[in-house]
C-alpha cells in the first residue's frame, strides 16, 4: 500500500543547459531526471523512488529540438512525442517510429512523453525502443565525462536498468535518413484501443531491391523479454526473398521463437509468444508495402 512520500521535501530545479543538468544530477545520487514524468510521478506516489531533487530537462532547448541536416535527423531526448508526430519529415521517413511515438498514452501524455524518457525508463514494454532500434537510432549521452554516442539498442540493459552512468542523461537521438525503398512499421497489442501498456510490440524495417525482394530487414520485439529482442532468424529468412507467403510464415515462427516472455497481470507466456509472431509478420508486411509504395513514387 503506497503512501505519498513527503513531497514537500522535494526540490525542483530547471537548468537551461546540459552542463548544468549534468552537474545537478552528478552531485546528488538521489536527484532524478524530470522530463515527462508520466511514469516517475506515479512511481513516486507509490513510494518509490524518493528523490531529493527533480531536475527538469524541458527548459534545455537542445533537449526539445527537432532538426535535420539533410542526411541525419537530430531529435531532442525530451521532445514531446506530440511534436514528433506532427513533424512531416519524420512521419514520411519513419512512419513506424512515428506511429510508435503516437501510441504512448493519451493526448495528455503525448504532450510529455519523449523518446529519451521512453528509453531511459527502461520498461521492457516501452513502445518506441523497438522502432528506434530497427532504425539504428543513436543516443547522444552527456555526463560528467563529456558526451558519447551509443546505439539506442545499448541503452536499456534490463527492466528499469540502463547503461547510463551517474549524472548521465540522453541529450538527443540521431537518425540517418533511410535509404531508398525503405520503410518501417510498428504494431502493438493492447486489450483496449488506447491507454494500455503493450502486451507485445513489434517493429520492422524493410528495404526492398528493384525487384521487390528484401534487401535489408530489421525486426525487434518489445514486452517479450527483459529488453528489446532482435530477431536475426526472421531477418535472415527475409533477405533476398519476396516478403510474402512462406517467408512471412518463417518470420512469424522465428519471432515467436525469439521471445523470452513472462507471465504477469498483462499477459501470459503462451499468448505473448504467439502474438509476437503474428505482429512481427504483420509489421513486416506493412513495412514492405510502404517500402514498395516508395519505390512506385520514385
Amino acid at each position: 500500500m503506497g503512501y505519498d512520500l513527503m513531497l514537500s521535501a522535494m526540490r525542483y530545479a530547471s537548468p537551461t543547459t546540459v552542463a548544468e543538468a549534468v552537474d545537478l544530477l552528478g552531485s546528488d545520487p538521489a536527484a532524478r531526471v524530470y522530463a515527462g514524468a508520466t511514469d516517475l510521478i506515479p512511481q513516486i506516489r507509490a513510494g518509490r523512488p524518493e528523490p531529493t531533487v527533480m531536475v527538469d530537462l524541458k527548459r534545455i532547448d537542445r533537449l526539445c529540438a527537432i532538426g535535420s541536416n539533410g542526411s541525419t535527423y537530430t531529435v531532442g531526448a525530451a521532445a514531446p512525442t506530440a511534436d514528433i508526430c506532427g513533424h512531416d519529415g519524420l512521419a514520411a521517413d519513419f512512419p513506424g517510429l512515428v506511429e510508435a511515438s503516437g501510441l504512448i498514452g493519451s493526448d495528455q501524455i503525448q504532450s510529455r512523453s519523449s523518446w529519451g524518457g521512453n528509453l531511459a525508463n527502461a520498461s521492457p514494454a516501452a513502445d518506441t525502443p523497438p522502432s528506434l532500434i530497427v532504425n539504428d537510432a543513436r543516443a547522444v549521452i552527456a555526463g560528467p565525462g563529456g558526451e558519447r554516442t551509443v546505439a539506442a539498442a545499448d541503452v536499456a540493459t534490463g527492466p528499469g536498468q540502463t547503461s547510463l552512468g551517474p549524472g548521465e542523461i540522453i541529450v538527443e537521438f540521431e537518425l540517418d535518413q533511410p535509404p531508398a525503398r525503405t520503410a518501417d512499421a510498428y504494431l502493438r497489442l493492447i486489450p483496449r484501443t488506447e491507454m494500455d501498456i503493450a502486451v507485445v510490440g513489434a517493429a520492422a524495417r524493410i528495404t526492398l531491391d528493384g525487384d521487390g525482394n528484401v534487401a535489408a530487414a530489421a525486426i525487434a520485439l518489445g514486452a517479450v523479454a527483459p529488453t528489446v529482442v532482435r530477431v536475426p532468424d526472421a531477418e535472415a529468412a527475409l533477405i533476398g526473398n519476396l516478403p510474402s507467403g512462406e517467408v512471412l510464415g518463417a518470420v512469424e515462427a522465428a519471432a515467436a521463437a525469439a521471445t523470452n516472455p513472462i507471465d504477469d497481470k498483462r499477459g501470459t507466456v503462451a499468448y505473448r509468444r504467439q502474438v509476437a509472431g503474428v505482429l512481427a509478420r504483420r509489421a513486416v508486411s506493412i513495412a514492405a508495402e510502404r517500402a514498395a509504395q516508395q519505390g512506385d513514387q520514385s
Partner: protein
C-alpha cells in the same frame, strides 16, 4: 524547506502562488489557487479529470510539478466561458446531455477544446481517440462524442 514562489498566467490573468517543490500542479491549482474545476480521479494520468492546458499543450496536471508552471500560461475549465457566454463545447454538452455525474466533465471540456483547436473538423474516430485519455463512467461516451461533433459544427459555422 521554504516554499516555491510561482508566477504564471491562469486563464488570462496574472497569478502567483506558493507551493512545495514536490507538489503537483493539480494540487496547487486546487489548494493554493482555489480553482477546483480540475479533479483528481486517479493521480496517475490515466483518467484525464485533471486536464489543463499549459503553454498550448494539453496535460494531466496530476503529472506536472507545480514549480514547472513558473512563467507559463495555464488554461483551466474555469477560463473556458467568456463572461456569460459559454464556449460552444460547454453549450453543446449542456444541450446534448453529455454529462451525468459531471465529475469528468471539466477534463473532457478542456481536452475537447484542445482537440478542436488542433483539428477543427475531426471525424468520430478522431474524437474518440483524441478523448481516450479522459475516462467517463456514466455516459458510455455516446453523447459526449455527439456534443463535440455539434460544437465543432457550431464553431466552424461561426
Amino acid at each position: 524547506m521554504s516554499r516555491v514562489h510561482v508566477t504564471c498566467t491562469i486563464n488570462g490573468d496574472p497569478a502567483e502562488f506558493l507551493c512545495d517543490g514536490g507538489q503537483t500542479l493539480l494540487d496547487a491549482l486546487r489548494d493554493e489557487v482555489g480553482l477546483t474545476g480540475a479533479k483528481e480521479g486517479c493521480g496517475t494520468g490515466d483518467c484525464g479529470a485533471c486536464s489543463i492546458v499549459m503553454d498550448g499543450r494539453l496535460l494531466c496536471s496530476c503529472l506536472v510539478l507545480a514549480p514547472e508552471a513558473d512563467g507559463r500560461n495555464i488554461s483551466t475549465v474555469e477560463g473556458m466561458a467568456t463572461g456569460d457566454d459559454l464556449h460552444p463545447l460547454q453549450q453543446c454538452f449542456l444541450e446534448g446531455a453529455a454529462l451525468q455525474c459531471g465529475v469528468c466533465t471539466p477534463g473532457f471540456l478542456v481536452a475537447a477544446k484542445a482537440l478542436l483547436d488542433r483539428n477543427p473538423d475531426p471525424t468520430e474516430t478522431e474524437i474518440r481517440y483524441g478523448l481516450a485519455g479522459n475516462l467517463c463512467r456514466c455516459t458510455g461516451y455516446d453523447k459526449i462524442v455527439r456534443a463535440v461533433q455539434a460544437a465543432a459544427e457550431t464553431i466552424n459555422e461561426s
